[in-house]
């Protein structure tokens, strides 16, 4: 399919199909009428707070809650011991003190034996208001015996390292996945090793090896995590308002944890104030709000504060990567080998498809054409918070893109070649698609060089290089950085992908009422992605119903069909496809009804937007509105044609979709202070068909800011004692409007051949693609100092040290 022609406008001025459309959801948000979890107040509702461990690794000797219990207003104080006493009728262990993670590991709901990271949940207070609940935390006395913490992933597997998961009978800090593997490999180890060895011995080739750390960061949505839970003891119905990106998946997890049937659990995810992967996991706090309502019989609200959010829920990255790239001296890439040490924290809680324990990291061969690639990932436990897959990472494609894009720039430096030229030499060519990568991905479509040229054109690349040269002569340091990324999103084909055994297909339901107005029920969950607008546009595009006449329902498991939720840029590729498919089912039914009404064969009918008509007789036809009424009316329908105009669908994607793009960042670096200023940021994305270009661009803007943040300031580091050094917004720095430039966007459109509307998804593209552009730009600026690599975040201190030839390790505060 080709680029979409402009859609006609509805009476309200909205495109009946694709195009810029103002967001439906804005009407409530601009009035302050959004409904977030903390806005939910139920009659008789109690509040809660969690006591967290001050230590990264310590044995709990005793907990005295008596003073807290005596505080007026305190209703219940719950510890791990209490939870051990609540029997659980489920397959997942016999009590509530432990819960399953999304990676088949276990995680303490409240610590019983030991605490394993700073900020871990130790006790839970339910009280009449949130201030009293916090007061009570101060009155709980925990006697800890401090243990040596394991903070350095590189030392976690050393003999004699303290064992973190003794609860599982472990004798070291290795992590074993559900298939019994302790390391995860992909690609061709032997072929890659041979190619690299050959290159090493070939005077016409070069081999570059670089250690590259993607440090621990945090998605930090503006709204923290929380829930309001209420168990109606009479009906046995549990209702949970919760900050969830995946309400249906969460419901099943709670069903497993609590031993309740799904139909007795209703998850309502109202407006969600940003997710970015932070709201995929099931956290102890959510479970505790459920336990709180079980214990007190009242609705219980749990709302994280910011420190808790940054310290305990869902970190991202923490990959120590060593990459080796081999190429000819002309710049033809031959092979890439990667060794990764993956810090998973104290519980293996990564949220990714079961058969992909390192997520989609092995897409690291990137956008380039070379035959040999191999990676090996070794995960370890450390005394840090669990998580790993979050922050718009497309299941670790962030790490993969960062690795290959940094390696390519290191290679360019080694070859003394322009990084743009090096990329252009190696980019996959259009005729190679569908392309099977050396690690087994099947890229669906792409015109990479075209996209890169558009970006270079917007940037005015040649002039930029000239300017740089002039500036260097004056002792000014400006840098130009490229990133060319390919993502695989839209997980995923159910034969390959599941989370905790739940296949990743998405259900959907469309009803067209007798008056021709429609309601679409989605399994995915917006956290700002404008689903209420864009899904109406998909149905409008397929059926010709005005988008303002289509109501999109989401965020309530009682009102929507099953599906795995919104993360990994999967909504448009999976659920968006489902929306098109279900609309086509309705369209087909409409054809049968129209044929009956027009007394002809369905085969004699032809479709134009919003209307079936008789081939060759355009006047004789029925609009979708007319058909809606007819289908609910007394019209006699042929055998086998059901009345009414509704349908359901479950979309099982045949493959991932592969959005890609080229980003160019221009920075100025002050070598005296190490300060980096992002002056320009050019982003050309190809995400296939754009349903609502305004929304697509908005998401790209957000991701570019993420890239600036991660590259320059965001970091969760630890000191040797296990203290989290990024536990507040005073320490975990996010970019403000001052650090972000006005972005310059462009587009190319190469539709996905296997997606019903050719869309590929874009939600995470910029977060994935932008960090290497910023870092490459800074390294380019620092080239005159002989700096080839320094790890993110490139804070003034880090840049300054790199210039002094003394780059530091960013993940540990070691002096």
């Amino acid at each position: 399919m080709t680029a979409v022609e402009e859609a006609p406008l509805s009476p309200a001025g909205n495109p009946i199909g694709f195009g810029n459309m103002k967001r439906v959801e804005d009407q409530r948000f601009i009035r302050g009428e959004g409904n977030y979890v903390d806005d939910v107040n139920l009659p008789g509702m109690l509040h809660s707070a969690i006591l967290r461990s001050p230590y990264a690794h310590a044995r709990i000797k005793s907990i005295d809650t008596s003073a807290a219990e005596a505080l007026p207003g305190v209703v219940a104080v719950i510890t791990g011991k209490t939870l051990e006493g609540i029997p659980r009728p489920s397959l997942l262990g016999d009590n509530f003190a432990w819960m399953p993670t999304l990676s088949y590991d276990t995680q303490a709901v409240l610590a019983t034996d030991k605490v394993r990271f700073q900020g871990q949940e130790v006790a839970f207070v339910v009280a009449t208001d949130r201030y009293i609940a916090k007061d009570a935390l101060e009155l709980i006395d925990v006697d800890y015996e401090q243990l040596e913490p394991v903070m350095d992933a590189k030392k976690a597997m050393e003999p004699g390292a303290p064992v973190i998961r003794d609860d599982k009978g472990q004798t070291d800090n290795s992590i074993t996945d559900v298939h019994g593997h302790k390391t995860w490999e992909s690609g061709n180890a032997i072929g890659t090793a041979e190619a690299i060895a050959q290159a090493e011995n070939d005077p016409n080739c070069v081999v570059v090896t670089q250690e590259i750390m993607y440090p621990r960061v945090h998605p930090a949505p503006m709204e923290t995590c929380g829930s309001v839970s209420y168990l109606d003891k009479v009906t046995g119905q549990l209702t949970m308002y919760t900050t969830s990106q995946a309400p249906h998946a969460h419901r099943t997890v709670y069903a497993m944890v609590a031993g309740l049937p799904e139909h007795k659990i209703r998850i309502i995810s109202p407006d969600v104030g940003g997710g970015f992967g932070n709201k995929v996991g099931v956290y102890p706090g959510y479970v505790l709000s459920v336990i709180g309502t079980i214990v007190t019989g009242k609705p219980v609200k749990w709302m994280e504060d910011r420190g808790e959010n940054l310290m305990s829920t869902s970190f991202a990255r923490d990959y120590h990567m060593t990459g080796t790239i081999a190429a000819t001296k002309e710049g033809k890439i031959l092979a890439v080998d990667v060794d990764v040490l993956a810090d998973h924290g104290a519980f293996n809680g990564v949220a990714q498809p079961t058969n992909y324990p390192a997520g989609f990291f092995h897409i690291f061969s990137g956008s380039y054409d070379y035959p040999h690639a191999h990676c090996k990932v070794t995960p370890v436990y450390t005394n840090k918070a669990p998580g790993g897959v979050a922050y718009a990472c497309s299941f670790r494609i962030t790490e993969a893109v960062y690795l290959i894009e940094r390696l390519v720039d290191c290679l360019a430096a080694e070859l003394n070649m322009d990084p743009a030229e090096l990329r252009l030499k190696n980019l996959l060519r259009p005729e190679q698609f569908p392309y099977t990568s050396p690690t087994g991905w099947e890229y669906d479509s792409g015109e990479y060089e075209k996209t890169m040229r558009v970006a270079m054109e917007i940037a005015g690349y040649d002039e930029l290089r000239k300017e740089q040269e002039e500036k260097r002569a004056r002792g000014e340091y400006m840098g130009i950085g490229f990133s060319f990324f390919t993502e695989g999103v839209g997980a995923g084909p159910r034969k390959d992908m599941d989370i905790l055994g739940l296949g990743m297909a998405d259900g959907i339901e469309l009803r067209v009422h007798p008056t021709g107005k429609a309601v679409l029920r989605l399994s995915v969950q917006s956290q700002g992605q404008a689903h209420e607008t864009t899904y109406a546009q998909i149905v409008a595009h397929e059926l010709g119903i005005n988008p303002e006449d289509i109501e999109v329902v989401h965020g309530d498991t009682d009102q929507t069909p099953f599906g795995l939720g919104t993360y990994g840029s999967r909504s448009t590729p999976v659920s968006g496809a489902a929306a098109a498919v279900v609309s086509r089912k309705v369209k087909e039914r409409a054809r049968q009804v129209a044929a009956a009404a027009l007394e002809c064969s369905p085969d004699d009918l032809e479709w134009e937007l919003g209307r079936w008509f008789v081939k060759g007789d355009k006047e004789r036809g029925k609009t979708i509105t007319e058909i809606a009424l007819l289908s609910h009316g007394s019209l006699e329908l042929p055998e086998g044609v059901e009345g009414h105009l509704d349908a359901t669908a479950v979309y099982n994607p045949p493959n991932l979709t592969y959005p890609y793009g080229c980003y160019i960042c221009v920075v100025d670096v002050d070598p005296g202070t190490g300060q980096v200023k992002v002056r320009r940021f050019i982003a050309v994305d190809d995400c296939g068909t754009r349903i609502n270009p305004m929304v697509v661009e908005g998401q790209v803007h957000g991701g570019l800011a993420d890239g600036i943040g991660m590259a320059l300031m965001e970091l969760i580091a630890f000191d040797e004692d296990g203290n989290n050094l990024g536990g507040s917004f005073m320490d975990y720095l996010l970019p403000t409007a001052m650090e972000c430039p006005t972005y310059e966007l462009g587009e190319t459109v190469t539709p996905s051949p296997h997606h019903p509307i050719g869309a590929k998804g874009v939600g995470e593209s910029a977060t994935v693609g932008s960090p290497p552009a910023v870092v490459n730009a800074v390294m380019d600026a620092l080239a005159p100092f002989g700096v080839r690599h320094a790890d993110m975040p490139l804070t003034p201190a880090n840049v300054w040290r790199a210039i002094q030839g003394n780059p530091i390790r960013v993940d540990m505060a070691v002096e």
Binding site: I30, G34, D38, T79, D271, G698, F729
Partner: protein, 173 residues
């Protein structure tokens, strides 16, 4: 573990606070330590003002006190006693959206909407004090507030849009 009968009277409210909120006089009881953001949200029940951090860094709680934007998490409710508060709910006048609200919708200045009330309150104040701000002035004006979704690009555009489309009766400072 202990079970007590929940009682909202567990803690005696210690003081009475009176303030004008969006033009209406409001008197409520609260503890002396109650933060203004919690007073507005939980006690008065206006939930458009949000709460996003513990360190006065995020700005999702921005509202106006006596005509100036403040982070309502840095202020006690008691400190607002006798003063005039304007929140996001007070932007719309007589069923007429404020241009800043229209601007955010026109220019896609929001995604999840969580930072939006605070951003709009600051945006309105910037324009009241400087009807034609430069991009730099707008960026600086909102630099005490965080947005994770928009990368600020369209927030800046939204405020510019509002500057270009003043309400007919807009009172200039």
């Amino acid at each position: 573990m202990r079970f007590a009968v929940p009682s909202n009277q567990a803690k005696e409210p210690d003081m009475q606070v009176t303030m004008t909120i969006n033009g209406e006089s409001v008197t409520k009881e609260c503890e002396p330590r109650t933060l203004l953001v919690h007073f507005i949200r939980d006690i008065v029940g206006l939930r458009g003002t949000h709460w996003g951090c513990d360190t006065s860094n995020c700005g999702t709680c921005v509202l106006w006190v006596d005509g100036e934007p403040v982070k309502s998490c840095t202020m006690l409710a008691a400190m607002a006693d006798g003063r005039e508060v304007r929140t996001v709910e007070g932007l719309e006048q007589n069923g007429q959206l404020d241009p800043i609200q229209e601007g955010f919708r026109e220019c896609h200045g929001l995604q999840c909407g969580f930072c939006t009330p605070g951003m709009m309150m600051t945006g309105r104040w910037i324009l009241d004090n400087n009807p034609n701000p430069s991009e730099e002035e707008i960026r600086e004006g909102i630099s005490g507030q965080l947005c994770r979704c928009t990368g600020y690009h369209n927030i800046v555009k939204s405020i510019q849009w509002a500057a270009e489309h003043p309400a007919e009766n807009e009172v200039k400072a």
